[in-house]
């Protein structure tokens, strides 16, 4: 990226509607940088606290951040373009690679869009299984966030404790999907396979100890005076500003806006579960931290309720053979099954030439999918609006006026994943 010089002709334009000024959106450093009064400093893309490959160009007055220009795109892998060239079901494996800390959420949002586009049913039991997986993914993602966030600020041991718990979740993912990270477990119409017996056992033992482990993390951080000094009053974003900038998820709730898609516009049967939505009030780094800690307890509650409702045997994928391939065992018995199997794995299913839009609450915020069919077996366009993308765009609002060391705390607190941002 090269610096853009300030354009004199646009300086007199008055923004009329929105209370902020367009000037600050321009992606420019101030004129003081050209006289050498302020210093330009490049941070990243290979910087351990940027959580991937985020580059920020900082304009500094001493230690204080005057301006901040995020530069993304280093992890752009053309996932949206690639999905346009694949059949619908084969696109699911690519969505894992976006937000690699919450693969199930990406699978789920894409499957939800396909199901809406072709009007495919999902059995009740599969919806409950999906909720269990989604909440496990949420805990998984929050654990990585907690570990790295604390590590960035010098609290090394939290990272190790958090990763012990995360390892248990990854093993459970391997039990159900055969993969630890890139699960591709959700498929259009349900999930890939039924839960295994060892998964139930592992999940039970995990749920029985996990809340006490979160208590342990809290003992290390929540009332720790060093942690409080580093996080309270840092990176404040007002609720109105956060909404205008499209901030969502725990980062929005940290500012006290009660908006959780699982509660407000439920999907996949979330309205049947009892859980609370933790809210902050100051909108600073500490509130965003504490909300994610509390969300882990809530996720455990949801999984426990879901396990109670989940029958051990039953359908885990839709029976609609026009969209869902038959189980392997049926191929030896039924000619119809052979035909469906052949059609679905060679040609794929067709979807109408129309558009749908779905949004789900991912661990980071509102993840939404815009899917446009062609009438054929491949999509015309798929677009993921990812929370990390919006949060990085809003980063300058939170960081101006803070010290450069606080920027590390702010980057951690908005929980960005660059694979999610760049797609």
């Amino acid at each position: 990226m090269t610096l853009m010089t300030p354009d004199k002709s646009q300086e007199n334009q008055q923004p009329t509607q929105w209370e902020g000024s367009l000037e600050e959106l321009k992606g420019l450093v101030s004129e003081r940088a050209f006289t050498g009064e302020t210093m330009l400093l490049n941070m990243g893309p290979h910087h351990p606290s940027t959580h991937g490959v985020l580059r920020v160009l900082l304009e500094l007055d001493g230690e204080e951040i005057i301006n901040l220009l995020p530069d993304v795109g280093f992890l752009h892998t053309g996932i949206e373009k690639n999905i346009e060239h694949k059949q619908y079901e084969k696109g699911v494996t690519l969505t894992d690679r976006m937000d690699y800390l919450a693969p199930m959420n990406n699978n789920f949002s894409f499957c939800l869009a396909i199901e809406k586009l072709v009007d495919l049913d999902v059995p009740e039991r599969a919806q409950i299984m999906r909720v269990i997986c989604l909440e496990l993914t949420r805990i998984n993602s929050h654990l990585v966030w907690l570990g790295t966030h604390a590590l960035d600020m010098g609290a090394m041991s939290v990272f190790l404790y958090a990763f012990i718990q995360r390892e248990k979740i990854l093993r459970m993912f391997e039990m159900i999907s055969g993969q630890r990270l890139m699960t591709s477990y959700m498929r259009p119409g349900g999930v890939w396979r039924d839960f295994t017996d060892e998964f139930y056992t592992a999940l039970d033992s995990f749920l029985s100890v996990f809340p006490s482990k979160v208590d342990e993390f809290q003992r290390l951080l929540t009332n720790n005076p060093l942690w409080i000094d580093r996080t309270q009053g840092i990176g404040i974003i007002e609720p109105e500003t956060a909404l205008a900038w499209g901030v969502s998820g725990p980062s929005l709730r940290g500012s006290g806006v009660n908006w959780d898609l699982r509660k407000a516009m439920p999907y996949s049967g979330y309205e049947q579960y009892e859980f609370t939505v933790p809210l902050g009030e100051h909108g600073d780094v500490y509130d965003r931290f504490y909300i994610r800690i509390l969300e882990m307890y809530e996720s455990v509650k949801i999984i426990q309720q879901a396990l109670k409702k989940l029958p051990r045997k039953g359908p885990f994928r839709s029976e609609n053979r026009k969209f869902v391939p038959p189980p392997r065992a049926e191929l030896g018995r039924s000619m119809e099954a052979v035909i469906h199997h052949f059609k679905l794995w060679t040609e794929g299913f067709s979807a109408p030439d129309d558009e749908v839009y779905v949004a789900v609450e991912s661990p980071r915020g509102e993840l939404s999918v815009y899917l446009h069919g062609t009438g054929g077996t491949k999509p015309r366009r798929v677009h993921f609006k990812t929370p990390s993308f919006m949060h990085i765009a809003a980063m300058p609002v939170m960081s101006k006026g803070h010290f450069i060391a606080d920027l590390v705390a702010i980057i951690g607190s908005i929980d960005i994943v660059l694979g999610d941002c760049d797609r």
Partner: protein, 178 residues
């Protein structure tokens, strides 16, 4: 606290801005307003500020390319997804942009969140937004040729740069902009 009664967004927009709404479509329970391109900022502002509608949150802006079928009023569609947190509902605005002049007005003055979403479309789809303050490429490198999400842009087939063909490749690469 009593909320103002929710209004029907389609009827309200039609009444307030009679020339703006070209068409209304519904698919799988979602309502889409097809809006005249020159009126998009006015419609967005109306939907955001009117009591009873209050679409205060911009969820997404995405663009779709209808090449090679051209079965819509324009080659490109730009789709705005708005969310009303107060009334817990969404609405979709859609505008069609012509191939010859892919330009729209920017809604950054309504929601600053639109800034990066529009930058992504400028970058990936090659649709320009009048009034967007920051039009640099966001995902692709600054010296990239073409707009990858257009349907006539091939998938892959970029020549790999080696020492024997580096000069040949650099010859037709555009120079980095200022």
């Amino acid at each position: 606290m009593s909320l103002p009664q929710p209004k029907d967004p389609v009827e309200s927009v039609k009444a307030a801005l009679p020339t703006a709404v070209l068409d209304v479509t519904a698919f799988r329970g979602d309502t889409t307003l097809v809006v005249a391109p020159e009126q998009i900022v006015a419609v967005c502002k109306y939907l955001r500020d009117t009591p009873g509608l209050v679409y205060n949150f911009l969820s997404d802006i995405s663009a779709v390319d209808y090449y090679p079928e051209y079965n819509r009023p324009g080659r490109f569609g730009v789709v705005y997804h708005l969310l009303s947190m107060l009334y817990k509902r969404r609405i979709t605005l859609k505008t069609y942009v012509q191939e010859e002049e892919p330009v729209l007005d920017s809604v950054v003055s309504v929601w600053p969140a639109a800034n990066w979403l529009e930058r992504e479309i400028i970058d990936m789809m090659g649709i320009d937004f009048n009034g967007n303050p920051d039009k640099r490429r966001v995902l692709m490198p600054a010296d990239w040729n073409g707009h990858p999400h257009r349907r006539d842009y091939p998938l892959g087939y970029e020549t790999i740069m080696f020492s024997f063909n580096v000069e040949e490749i650099m010859k037709h690469k555009p120079k980095a902009t200022e």
